[in-house]
Structures are given as C-alpha cells and as structure tokens.
C-alpha cells in the first residue's frame, strides 16, 4: 500500500513545526494535568475508589450537576438563538448596549454573579418575593446561575451564522408557498443547528465546571443542592486529595463521552455541508 500522505501542498510552509508545537502545547496544558487526575486516583485501592464515587451524597451531586448543566444549556440554546436573531435581524435603539451586555457574564467574576443572583432570588429579594416557590437554595436557583454564565456561548456562535445567512433562501421558501413557521423550521433551523449545537456543548461544559456563582445560590445542602465541584472542594479542604480526584475522574469521563456524543451529532449535521 502506498504511504498515506498527510501533508497537503500549501504555499505556507511549516506543517511539521506547527503540528509538533501544537502537540506539545496541548499535552503540557491539557493532557498532562488531566492525566495527573488519573495518576492521583490510582493511589487509591479499587474498593476505596468504588466506595468514594458511589457514596449516595456523591451520586446525588453528579445527578444535580449534570441535570442542572443540561437544563441550563437547553435554556441557553432556545433564548440564545432568540437573542442572536433579534440582534442580527432588527435594528433598534440600544442594540449595541444589548450586544455588549451579552458578553458581561464572561467578564464578571462568577462569585459576584452568584451573590447578585442570590440577593435577587432570595425569598425577600426583589424577584424572589413575588414568586410562590423557592428559587434560591434549590436546583432552580442553580440552573439560573448556570444559565447566566453560559449565555454568551450560544449567542456568539449563532450570531455570525445568522449574519451570513442568505435571506434569498427565506424569500425562495415564501414564494414556493411555505408559511413563516415552515420557513423557520425547514430552512433556517437546519442552517443554524450546527452552530447552536456547538454553543450548547460549550455552555454545557462550562456549566459542569462552574463553581463560583453556584455555591452562593445553591445553599449547599447535602443530597439536595450540592454540586460536584463543591464536593471536590470539600474533599480538598479535608486534605483527601485522592478522594477529590476520584470524583473528578468520574466526572471527567462522563463529560468526555457527553461531549464526544455532541461532537458526533455536530459531525452528523455538518456532513451535509461538507462540500460547501
């Protein structure tokens, strides 16, 4: 069999050098630290490991963390697409201000966001007092915090796609007799789906690891409102490094497979555009 040629002819040289550097960089920055988690975990016996990660309190935190992160990412996809749509399609006074506000959750220290949200949603807070159900110190509050910090991802992923969207496609759809709903579902959604999925994956991943904003609004009641990152922190504070990394390792593996799945989904939706 002929030797497979990886290198494509290019006018810019440096394939070997840049690939080598990339590998080194990613290894040092991502792969090595993550490997340390598994190395550290390996210092435990298998029985200890199983006992740590199947402890009811830990399992409950996994459920809460993944559940709230998933819910927050779903909310962000729906409203992120809506915000991106409004920002791209309409012009109105204050548009630039809103456009700028979208990025704020990135810039704000997450602890500040957590405190602000807690004050608002506490039972006596500005918003909390009007609600008949509790928000702060419940999973709902956690979801709100996670939605807040993940908002920019979907908006910023979908916005450029909508900007480049060929509006003649919409006109073609209308002239062929499609109503507005059909045009949106059959023509616009497929176009923005890959970008929305990327935004979803990013918002989801970000929400999984979020600590600062959640600890304030969560209330941190064991079995009820304790997120996995908090549990890891608790273990660390008790100098139980192996226990902390064990919980982290499980979380890492689950996250890896979830992101792999989302990537697969993306690849599947993207396949159709492969030649464009």
């Amino acid at each position: 069999m002929a030797k497979k040629k990886w290198k494509k002819h290019s006018i810019l040289p440096g394939f070997g050098l840049s690939l080598g550097f990339t590998t080194l960089y990613v290894s040092l920055l991502v792969l090595l630290p993550l490997a340390m988690i598994f190395v550290n975990t390996a210092s435990m016996s298998w029985a200890d490991f199983r006992a740590t990660v199947t402890e009811p309190r830990v399992v409950a935190s996994y459920q809460l963390s993944f559940g709230a992160a998933f819910a927050a990412a779903c909310i962000n996809v729906i409203f992120g697409v809506l915000i991106a749509w409004v920002l791209v399609r309409y012009s109105f006074p204050g548009k630039r201000v809103i456009d700028g506000l979208v990025d704020l959750p990135f810039a704000l220290p997450t602890a500040v966001a957590g405190i602000a949200l807690t004050t608002l949603y506490a039972e006596t807070g500005w918003i909390g007092q009007f609600l008949s159900f509790k928000v702060a110190f419940t999973p709902i509050g956690i979801t709100i915090a996670l939605t807040f910090i993940g908002l920019p991802f979907v908006v910023r992923m979908v916005q450029p796609v909508l900007q480049n969207f060929d509006q003649e496609m919409e006109e073609a759809s209308a002239i062929l007799g499609a109503n507005r709903f059909q045009t949106f579902i059959k023509v616009i959604v497929p176009e923005i789906l890959p970008a929305a999925l990327t935004g979803f994956a990013l918002a989801f991943a970000r929400a999984l690891g979020e600590y600062g904003s959640v600890v304030f609004i969560a209330g941190n009641m064991p079995m009820k409102t304790e997120i996995t990152p908090l549990l890891i922190m608790t273990k660390l504070e008790q100098y139980d490094y192996a226990g902390a990394t064990a919980i982290a390792a499980v979380m890492l593996v689950i996250s890896f497979f979830l992101l792999l799945f989302i990537n697969g989904l993306q690849w599947w939706t993207n396949r159709k555009f492969a030649h464009s």
């Binding site: 496609m169 006109e171 002239i175 062929l176 030649h275 464009s276």
Partner: protein
C-alpha cells in the same frame, strides 16, 4: 396569465427606484426587463413577486388585483441570480419543497410528488443528480435546479432575476437557448431581468428598456434595436458612435457650427463604411488607431482627423482583407445609416 402593472412607484429612502410604471404583459409572453444597474428593473420584478411592496399603484394577475396579496399566496415561480437553493437539502428535496409545504388537503401524495420531481429533473437533465447537494453542483446545474424548483408548483407566472448573470459565457448561452425552448413548450408568462442587451435581444418576445426608474421603450427586439426612441436606448443596446453635427434644411451635416449645431447623430459600428478613396463629400478622413480581430468580426478604432474624435467600426474579415488596412493609415469613413437626436428633445 396576463400581468398588468398600473402606476407603480417605489422609493427607498430618498432614492426613487420606480416612478409611475405602467406595463401590460400578455399571457404566454416572454418579456425582458433590460437596463443598467440601479434602473429599477429588479425592484419591479420583486414587486411583481410580492417580495417588495410598492408605495402606490396596482398589480393585476389576469383580472385579479394582487397588490396586497403576500408572496406566499401569489403562486409565482421565482428564480434568483444566486440560485438561493436550500443548501442542506438534496436536489430532489429542493425541487419537492414547494409541493411538500402545501397544506395537507392540497398536498399531492408522496408517490405523486416523487413522480413530479423526477419528471422535472429529467426536463432539466439532472436525473442523475437527485441525491446530490447543491454544493456538489456547478453553477449552471444549480440554476437548472432552481428552475425546476420554481416550476414544480406549476406557477402561472415565472419571474427570473438575472438568471444567468453568475454563469460563464458558454453556459449562459446554452441556458438562454434552453429557457427559450422551455418557454416555447410551456407558454408560462415569463419576465426576466437582465443588464445584458444581447441576452434580451436573443431570448425575449418583447423588451422593456428601463432607466432611472422609468420605462424608456417597449418593443420587440428588432424594434428597440433598429428604432430606438432615445439616445439612451440607442447607447444601451450595443456600441455606438456619436457624431456632433448640425441640421441644415432637414439634412444633417457633420461638424459643429451653423444653425442647430449641437445635434447628435448616432451610428452603429457595423453601419460605418470604410473606404480607401474619398467616395463622397460627406465622408470624413480618419486615422486607424487600433485593429483587433474577435472571431469573424474585425473591430477598428479610428480617430477623426478634423475633430480628434474616436470612432469604432466593425468589418467582416473579408472586407478587412480586401481593404488591407494597417494601423496608422488614413482612410475615409462614411455612416451608412444614422439616427439624429436633437438635444432639445433629449439630453444624455
């Protein structure tokens, strides 16, 4: 279906895109809207399609007024310059789209849709490409898909917005012929927008020449080419030489001065005769500046000795060989046929 356009005007901000357009199109006609960019031809087409709303005036399809009916319900076929195909759908799904989005009661069965799409794809000679995506097709193929998609809903009116503008010359010519044949077979009332005079002359039954939001002239290709009613139309439909001259006793004289001096004579390059010897009094001496051969015709650039004006002439290859003209030589030119416009009536 016949189309009537009555007193249609449109402004975009302070720009008057269309002013008081009146146009009647007969059932089964193939009409070209011809004009330079910014002449309002595309705006007019989009208003007919319902993609744009006119400021005032009315549009009738047959006897039915459709001015305020939405594009969705006008049941026209529209072909965009840049195809506007649905990128994420196969060729088959693109063509089937108009049938699939119909309300349940009017929607044909799956089998009927498949049959209809196959039929249209064979009409545009793309049977083998049904499962491809638009990105995998060439420009000409994409435009044929767009045409099949527009025809799938069996429109009474077909509107084409510079349909061949984005294609290369050879494909453009092919599709032009093909559109003409298609029209001869189906007799759908069709309007197409173009800025290419050759395309309009070649394909259309009738040409509507537009300029600055107004209709300059309406007529058959021969009419507008042979008898343009204004300097603009003359200039727009092909190359032209302008002679400055004067009118004397109903006779046009070359050269400035005298009464009615300022009148202009328009002559097509192929109506300019070149002679070696001075044939008549009205012949003008000119120097050959440049000669270039394009296929069977020879374009010759000349400079009038007296006025320093440049002229363009077209000769057949035979005549060119006979005269044996070389760059730098002096020859005599004489217009075979000219059209005089007096500036009081027209301004360019």
């Amino acid at each position: 279906m016949s189309i009537q356009i009555k007193e249609v005007s449109k402004t975009f901000g302070s720009f008057q895109a269309l002013s008081d357009i009146n146009l009647d199109i007969q059932t089964g006609e193939l009409v070209a809207l011809l004009g330079p960019s910014g002449s309002g031809k595309t705006s007019l087409l989009r208003i007919i399609a319902g993609l744009e709303e006119s400021d005032n005036g009315a549009i009738l399809f047959g006897n039915e007024e459709i001015t305020h009916i939405r594009a969705t319900e006008r049941k026209v076929g529209f072909v965009f310059q840049h195809y506007a195909l649905f990128k994420h759908m196969t060729v088959f799904d693109n063509v089937a789209y108009g049938l699939k989005v119909r309300p349940k009661k009017e929607r044909p069965s799956k089998k009927d849709i498949t049959e209809k799409v196959r039929e249209l794809l064979s009409l545009v000679k793309l049977d083998a490409f049904a499962d491809r995506y638009p990105a995998q097709l060439s420009g000409g193929q994409r435009q044929r898909v767009a045409l099949a998609r527009a025809l799938a809903v069996e429109p009474k009116v077909l509107l084409l917005d510079e349909p061949f503008g984005a294609l290369d010359a050879k494909v453009r010519k092919e599709l032009r012929r093909w559109l003409r044949r298609l029209h001869d077979d189906f007799h759908i009332t069709s309007i197409f927008v173009t800025h290419d005079q050759e395309e309009a002359l070649d394909v259309a039954d009738r040409i509507v020449v537009m300029n600055e939001g107004k209709i300059e002239q309406i007529g058959s290709p021969e009419e507008v080419y042979e008898h343009p009613n204004s300097p603009f139309v003359y200039d727009f439909l092909g190359n032209v030489n302008v002679f400055h001259g004067r009118l004397e006793n109903g006779q046009w004289r070359n050269g400035a001065g005298g009464e009615n001096h300022g009148s202009l004579a328009y002559v097509r390059p192929h109506d300019i005769l070149i002679e070696r010897k001075k044939p008549a009094d009205d012949a003008v001496q000119a120097k050959v500046v440049h000669v270039h051969v394009v296929g069977r015709t020879v374009h010759i650039e000349l400079k009038q000795e007296r006025t320093d004006q440049f002229l363009e002439a077209e000769l057949t290859k035979e005549r060119y060989r006979e005269l044996n003209i070389k760059v730098g030589e002096n020859v005599f030119v004489r217009p075979n046929q000219l059209k005089v416009f007096i500036p009081e009536d027209y301004s360019i």
